[in-house]
């Protein structure tokens, strides 16, 4: 790709950003350059430095989860192969994120409310909020509205496994429940007890 000599540095920046977005779709996730820095994987003894490391890992984890539609991250993902390998290791520089460091990063994310320990009362597994529960609530209500399913009773299954893929496809039940609870607070949803489990009805609030 030829470089235009007339493009200013800022102009080139936005061209690069656009190219990255395209690359992500075609070639896969684009890791930030800090991922190639060996010390990025070590838990830093200087607290100010470690705060930066945790911030960068948080950004990376949420961004990757959004890209791959992943909802859970466990401390053990740092050891076993799987969905998170691309991010938790860098084989080109021979570095891995140790479980202890990942555990500390997860704690940081929970403290910042961009993740929650799921199930509750343990600290080895988190549910990631690459979209906040409040945002999920809006997406959910919007989907119910545009698919003409207002005021009908739906099962949770119909939401997580609809015939046509939606942003809510495969959303974990704990997160779905959180979103519904938020909608209930603004009178836009109601949990209904049904024969074989949980159901919900969406509506627009009465004026």
């Amino acid at each position: 790709m030829a470089l235009s000599t007339h493009t200013t540095s800022t102009g080139w920046d936005s061209v690069l950003k656009a190219c990255n977005k395209v690359n992500e779709h075609i070639l896969g996730f684009l890791l930030p350059s800090i991922h190639s820095a060996p010390p990025f994987f070590t838990q830093q003894p200087n607290p100010a430095t470690e705060a930066i490391v945790i911030e960068q890992w948080t950004k990376l984890i949420l961004s990757y989860a959004r890209h791959r539609n992943l909802f859970y991250l466990r401390v053990e993902d740092a050891e076993t192969g799987g969905d998170w390998d691309e991010v938790l290791r860098n084989d080109r520089i021979n570095r891995r994120l140790p479980p202890a460091h990942l555990s500390s990063i997860l704690a940081g994310m929970v403290a910042k409310n961009v993740a929650s320990y799921e199930p509750a009362k343990q600290t080895r597994s988190v549910l990631l909020y690459w979209r906040l529960p409040e945002e999920w609530a809006e997406v959910l209500h919007q989907w119910a509205s545009t698919t003409g399913q207002m005021n009908t009773i739906m099962t949770f299954y119909e939401i997580t496994d609809p015939p046509v893929n939606s942003p809510l496809t495969n959303i974990p039940l704990p997160l779905l429940r959180k979103a519904i609870t938020i909608l209930a607070k603004s009178n836009r949803a109601q949990i209904i007890a049904i024969a074989d489990g949980e159901g919900v009805r969406f509506f627009t609030p009465a004026k």
Binding site: S9, S33, A37, P38, P39, A51
Partner: protein
């Protein structure tokens, strides 16, 4: 004759008043009038020059540099004057420009301080300031940064341009770099940021004790480097962030 608002630094105002008084005592009134007219003409010409070339001064670094040199050589301080920015500043908007750049430099240094311990490479600083300014900011040179930092000096914030192994860096913390740290930084720059105890022992003939203490202080006390405890060679390596490059 006192005129408000003229910032010609070559003339001390009290002295000027006195001199004019003496002068007017010894020469005729018409000659004094003539002198004042000449000064007024000179001032008008300078005003015209400054406003005609204002945009070029703002956008073209080499022209700006030449203009500043001219001001210095004729004894005019573009920032001086009774008002905060000075008459020149108001005319050129130059004081504002300088001030604005100073604020941006401080902004970048403060926001990267935790990452690099208060020491940033000149090239990196220019890059980030340029990003802040966007397209309309015009290009910024090292000279602009150096001049701007000079104006920050009275703030006593400790901003200084330092030279480490031939590379210009900007230091924004009051703490002086000790000699050992300067040596380590120099080594880091030669090796893409990575320093280990053995390097200091073999290449600088330090004792292990001295190497360890210096590196650990940089790491723990000063936050000037990051630790890599998966280093294949030595197990423990120190990475100097100001010699590393990554997206913010």
């Amino acid at each position: 004759m006192h005129r408000r608002g003229v910032g010609l630094a070559a003339f001390d105002r009290k002295q000027t008043t006195k001199r004019f008084e003496e002068l007017s005592n010894s020469i005729s009134q018409s000659q004094v009038t003539h002198l004042n007219n000449q000064l007024a003409q000179f001032r008008t010409a300078l005003t015209h020059f400054a406003s005609t070339h204002r945009d070029k001064i703002k956008s073209d670094p080499s022209f700006r540099h030449a203009f500043q040199q001219m001001c210095t050589s004729i004894g005019v301080d573009p920032l001086a004057g009774p008002r905060k920015g000075g008459w020149w500043a108001e005319l050129l908007g130059l004081g504002d420009w300088q001030y604005e750049l100073g604020v941006q430099i401080v902004d970048v240094c403060v926001s990267t301080r935790e990452r690099n311990g208060g020491l940033i490479e000149m090239a990196e600083l220019i890059r980030m300031v340029s990003k802040l300014r966007g397209v309309s900011g015009g290009s910024i040179t090292e000279d602009d940064i150096v001049q701007s930092i000079k104006t920050l000096e009275p703030l006593g914030a400790g901003y200084q341009v330092v030279d480490i192994s031939g590379r210009k860096m900007v230091r924004s913390v009051v703490k002086e770099l000790d000699d050992d740290q300067t040596t380590i930084l120099g080594l880091a720059q030669e090796h893409g940021g990575r320093v280990v105890e053995d390097m200091l022992i073999q290449r600088r003939q330090w004792s292990r004790e001295r190497a360890r203490t210096a590196l650990e202080n940089m790491l723990l006390r000063d936050g000037l480097c990051w630790l890599d405890d998966q280093d294949e060679e030595c197990g423990r390596a120190y990475w100097v962030t100001s010699a590393m490059k990554w997206e913010a």
